[in-house]
């Protein structure tokens, strides 16, 4: 009898163990059964990352003899310092907040100051989350979106928050900008690329600044795909998406080398060119889109699924609708040495920026990623030798070349569907100059013919955004043409 009882007990244990193991394989326990576990920790993580990802695209430094722009903030960390100054200022209970005119604002730009330009309009409450400080009602009643933060560095510093048309000045006693001033004192102004105000220097009705020389160090860089379809680390990536061993996931390989995995409603596809695509279903009809929640979900998701390349930042926010649901498409890109990686639209990767994610509040519907990482520096020696012997052009010099200006005029007419016979050339020139609303440096993928010899490379170009029409021009003089078709690329590379 004793033996029988032991046997029964043993059998029971065996059955329970087998049920538990079967659970692991067949049934997923939904997270809603354990709501509080881990979510607090998650939120802290995302706030830290959110402030790292939502940041200015460029920082304009205005000083007595001119202006310069920092495209890379790695060296001095001006944005981190600026965030501190903002937070400490808004903490103050005695603030004076008021709208100022455009003329007064333009005047401030000629005094010693820093301007932080965001690539997208940031809602004022989101700005508050990033600087970790509450925005006083006196401020958010007057301005809803911010795309520029101006910090004056004179004897009585103040801050101006602006969007396209509104400028809100925030001042209080004793705004401490010593840290910024000290950091700026270490910069040799003569060594920096010089920018001029298009409004003051060229009488063009435009708030942009034009570089008149080029002193940035922007070499051609060798890159490699972040994700190789044939490599072994693919398994670890797949595991991150499905949180289980890839051996348990249904998948197959296509003829062109792409690998596809299925699990529940999730699909993960990795193309042979390194493009990663992930699709999932979303929970229920989502009628109200919430920006902060969606952005948090997006940033968190990307950090846990492959991660952020160095220098990543939010480039664009696009509200989207799918069936009856409302959400956002967030587009991110990353910088190499201050130059933003740009995906040429002609490259039919189907992406406008390297990382795109569609989020509906808490759910991720689509996630696409096409990232190239810089290879080891030793390999870049060959590439940098090429750029040592060529002269670097500024945007002013690029605009002054007839072949470039002809292309700009042609593309502008085409893009805006104008009738060329009705336009006076001088008027067209003025219109184009007025419409320039952003100038930055982009890293472009060099056309395919050279890949066999040099490997994959990214080439720096000046990008001029003319009211939505983005045109890029090579920085190095001897090959200064718009790269339009493969023929021209051959000329360029094999000189």
């Amino acid at each position: 009898m004793y033996r029988e009882r032991v046997k029964t007990l043993f059998l029971l244990i065996l059955i329970m163990v087998s049920i538990l193991l079967a659970n692991e394989i067949w049934i997923e326990i939904p997270n809603s059964f354990f709501p509080s576990f881990g979510s607090e920790v998650e939120e802290e993580n995302t706030e830290y990352l959110l402030a790292d990802i939502v940041k200015p695209e460029k920082i304009l430094y205005n000083f007595d003899t001119g202006h310069t722009v920092f495209y890379s903030d790695k060296e001095f960390g001006f944005w981190d310092i600026g965030r501190d100054v903002l937070a400490k200022t808004l903490e103050n209970s005695q603030l004076s907040v008021g709208l100022i005119s455009v003329e007064e604002y333009d005047d401030y730009k000629s005094k010693t100051s820093l301007d932080y330009y965001f690539p997208e309009n940031i809602h004022i409450h989101l700005l508050g989350k990033i600087i970790e400080e509450n925005i006083p009602s006196a401020a958010y009643e007057k301005i809803e979106y911010v795309n520029n933060v101006h910090i004056d560095l004179g004897t009585s510093p103040f801050i101006v928050l602006s969007d396209e048309k509104t400028h809100l000045k925030i001042s209080s006693e004793d705004i401490d900008v010593r840290v910024i001033r000290n950091a700026l004192n270490n910069i040799d102004k003569e060594d920096q690329t010089k920018f001029v105000s298009m409004k003051t220097s060229l009488n063009i009705n435009n708030n942009e600044y034009l570089p008149i020389n080029m002193k940035y160090n922007m070499p051609v860089v060798k890159v490699k795909k972040e994700i190789e379809v044939k490599s072994k680390n693919l398994e670890s990536i797949v595991e991150k998406f499905f949180s289980r061993n890839p051996n348990y996931i249904r998948g197959y390989e296509e003829d062109n080398g792409a690998k596809i995995y299925f699990y529940n409603q999730q699909i993960l596809k990795i193309h042979s060119n390194g493009l990663l695509e992930y699709h999932n279903s979303i929970a229920e009809p989502i009628e109200n889109r919430e920006l902060y929640k969606s952005l948090n979900t997006a940033v968190n998701f990307v950090s846990n699924h492959v991660g952020w390349p160095e220098g990543s930042f939010l480039k664009e926010i696009e509200p989207i609708e799918w069936e009856e649901n409302k959400g956002f498409r967030f587009k991110f890109t990353y910088k190499i040495n201050g130059g933003q990686v740009v995906i040429d639209e002609e490259k039919s990767v189907g992406l406008e920026e390297p990382i795109e994610i569609e989020v509906y509040n808490n759910d991720v519907k689509t996630y696409k990623r096409y990232v190239k990482l810089v290879e080891n520096v030793e390999n870049n020696e060959v590439a940098s030798q090429e750029s040592l012997n060529t002269r670097k052009l500024s945007v002013l010099e690029i605009l002054m070349k007839k072949e470039n200006s002809d292309i700009i005029r042609e593309k502008y007419i085409e893009y805006n569907e104008l009738d060329p016979s009705e336009i006076d050339e001088e008027e067209l020139n003025n219109r184009i100059l007025e419409a320039i609303n952003n100038i930055y440096i982009g890293y472009y993928y060099i056309g395919d013919n050279s890949v066999w010899i040099y490997g994959e490379r990214l080439q720096p170009r000046w990008v001029i955004d003319i009211d939505g029409l983005k045109l890029s021009f090579e920085i190095n003089e001897e090959s200064n043409k718009i790269v339009e078709d493969n023929e021209k690329v051959d000329e360029v590379i094999f000189k």
């Binding site: 034009l210 070349k401 002809d406 100059l433």
Partner: protein, 252 residues
């Protein structure tokens, strides 16, 4: 057998006719030419070919920086000539040495007119104005009165003239901006020591040299901190008075 031949010929015919048809893209170049022709023929004749506009520097500018930015608009593909005239070493320092107060309008105007007589032969530069008709150039000036003459090559009479007065560099403004309030004394001591050091060098030699790289501040021998404070206040006042006196430098 016959059926086989027919079916084979049909297959061959289908393959032959559905081959890819190649064509050249002629659109881009010719449309460029078309647009260029249309624009050229229309209103460009209206444009005054010797019209030059100079936006910077502003006329009768007083500055403490020796490099100034020249910017403006001119017809596309034209050549612009820039002549920079300067005076030999006549500076405001002489004025203060002779104890002429800087807010004496008449004396200032006399001094200003006198300087114009001493213009040295100009240094000339040619700028090529590219497309979009804009030009930007940095110019090196000397201390004292400078005159800039900008015109389109061939139309010397339709040029633009700018007068710029380059003052001595005073570091007072910078110092005041950098003042670390805790180390107030330290900063003034430094200022005092620097000005004393330079006083020791022979100030007569300075006038013979053409390029003055390290410009000394005003001759000051303050006795105590209060007089140092007064001196900086004076310098501030002088600077602001120079600004407001711009109007008196206008040419008739």
């Amino acid at each position: 057998m016959f059926k086989r031949i027919i079916s084979a010929t049909i297959v061959l015919a289908i393959i032959g006719t559905t081959g890819t048809v190649s064509y050249t893209s002629s659109g881009k170049i010719s449309s460029n030419e078309k647009i260029a022709k249309k624009i050229n023929s229309s209103k460009i004749h209206k444009f005054y070919e010797s019209n030059i506009e100079v936006f910077q520097p502003k006329d009768n500018l007083v500055t403490s920086h020796k490099t100034v930015l020249l910017s403006g608009k001119a017809p596309e593909e034209s050549k612009v000539v820039v002549e920079v005239y300067s005076t030999p070493n006549l500076s405001l320092k002489n004025l203060t040495k002779n104890n002429i107060a800087l807010n004496n309008d008449k004396a200032l105007k006399e001094f200003y007119d006198k300087q114009q007589e001493f213009f040295l032969p100009p240094s000339t530069k040619e700028i090529e104005v590219g497309s979009f008709g804009i030009f930007v150039q940095e110019l090196e000036l000397k201390l004292g009165l400078n005159k800039i003459n900008v015109y389109i090559k061939g139309s010397e009479d339709m040029g633009k003239v700018r007068f710029i007065y380059v003052n001595e560099e005073t570091n007072a403004e910078d110092l005041i901006n950098d003042i670390d309030r805790i180390n107030f004394l330290k900063v003034f001591k430094k200022f005092f020591l620097e000005s004393n050091k330079i006083n020791e060098e022979d100030t007569e030699n300075v006038e013979d040299k053409e390029d003055i790289e390290n410009v000394e501040p005003e001759d000051v021998e303050p006795e105590n901190i209060e007089s140092i404070k007064e001196e900086t206040k004076n310098i501030e006042e002088k600077e602001s008075s120079i600004d407001t006196n711009q109007d008196t430098f206008q040419n008739d």
